[in-house]
Symmetry: C2
Amino acid sequence: METVAIVGVGLIGGSFALALREAGFGGRILGVSSERTIAEALRHRVIDEGLTLDRACEQADLIYLAGPIHSILDTIPQLDEYAREGALVTDAGSTKQKIAAAGAKLRRAQFLGGHPMAGKETRGVQAAEARLFAGRPYLLTPSRPSDMETPAALDFLAWIRKIGAVPRVLSPDEHDRIVAHSSHLPQLLSTALSGTLGKHPDSEQIAAAAGPGLVDSTRLALSGWDIWRDILETNRPSILEALDTFIAEAQALRARYVTSELEADFADGKEFALRLRNSR
Amino acid sequence: METVAIVGVGLIGGSFALALREAGFGGRILGVSSERTIAEALRHRVIDEGLTLDRACEQADLIYLAGPIHSILDTIPQLDEYAREGALVTDAGSTKQKIAAAGAKLRRAQFLGGHPMAGKETRGVQAAEARLFAGRPYLLTPSRPSDMETPAALDFLAWIRKIGAVPRVLSPDEHDRIVAHSSHLPQLLSTALSGTLGKHPDSEQIAAAAGPGLVDSTRLALSGWDIWRDILETNRPSILEALDTFIAEAQALRARYVTSELEADFADGKEFALRLRNSR
């Protein structure tokens, strides 16, 4: 892999570029973004050159789509016209089934979806960090297992390891079910909690009495709707299922609280919270 | 205030002692705890001397009860026998109505309940930090407004400010309603979320795919049952009300997700999340 095109040079695309550099990538990194973002990315030495989509793709061995989901879905169908034979197209979108379906139609380039489980509240290339993916899961979602075996896919996998991320392979529909629970459900709960408290008649006193727990619990509620509109639109059945499971569990916990103690609930919650920290 | 007795030298009691020292308190700090904790507290120079409850209280101008709620409730009735005339008794328990009712029976000493909104997952005196309360709300819960006007109360308030905390005055029942929402509800949601995911058939994959959002959302689920048993037992009506309000909101959000967009939910959630960060 000698030339990489980052399409959408924001927090994730910019961090991937910086991570490649830090991991010893010696090739060229091209950026496709708005004029303003390209200027910013050049100023921060995140990319080597800003180009249009067609000019960047005709040179790239790896095309890394890091914009919002709707823009990934818009871009993929154009790539067969521009991409080099054997190039790898990947993306960093938060849902995978619709993107994988679009990617499966590519003929000249190979598509392999991905989803780095990293991020922060601050957006944009100026927030990009070379270590954003370090120690974090990097989900790869081949439509067929053989998609992982091509030279381009193996090379990409090696770079994911070199940037310190922990690759995990899932099918696109497994991915969407899993992240509905691991990511989309926590987001909606944080949004619902923050909204509930904001509407409460005592919301000012609640805000004034906030400890570190409430600050953590409302961090996800800071996330932008522009990102979440696409996620909610493209993973509705799995997210509804996750919400239903959670609401039923919250109701059952409430019922147990009325009639008895919640010791077992605390033990179960702690067990999983420790397990996910140990599985990292 | 020349002599302070910390009863229960754990994370909160130990941090209060260290914070006093850092803020320039030149008097003596006595500790009442198990032999092992006293040894640890002396080794870390958190206290000057370990004593029994009676010996410590007969010297103290401020008696700071920092154990679990049930131990605070057990200790308060003994204090009239030991405390000096005019001493101030305060506590750091997470619920206030039952503790305030016990405190109101004191005759020789004055009672003024408190609740520093600070903490972390790690417990014990070895985790104590002088800066634990800095920038955090410190709730004070006088049973009558005049409880704030005594010389001992004014002196204590001045020290709360000196350690960098932000004092806020609430009645004990206001306190319990407010923290049911700001602290107890987030705790139960984190426990319920973590428990839901732990019981899910794909829980291993969910844990392996966890990003920073899920880590934050399950941090409170690490909390110990020994602390929470007392809180849940002493604030049941307000916590049930908070849970009901949240569950209704989650169901309403689910219904809106089926029929339309959640843009307004995201805007409302973000608004409160920003508000509580700005009110700090």
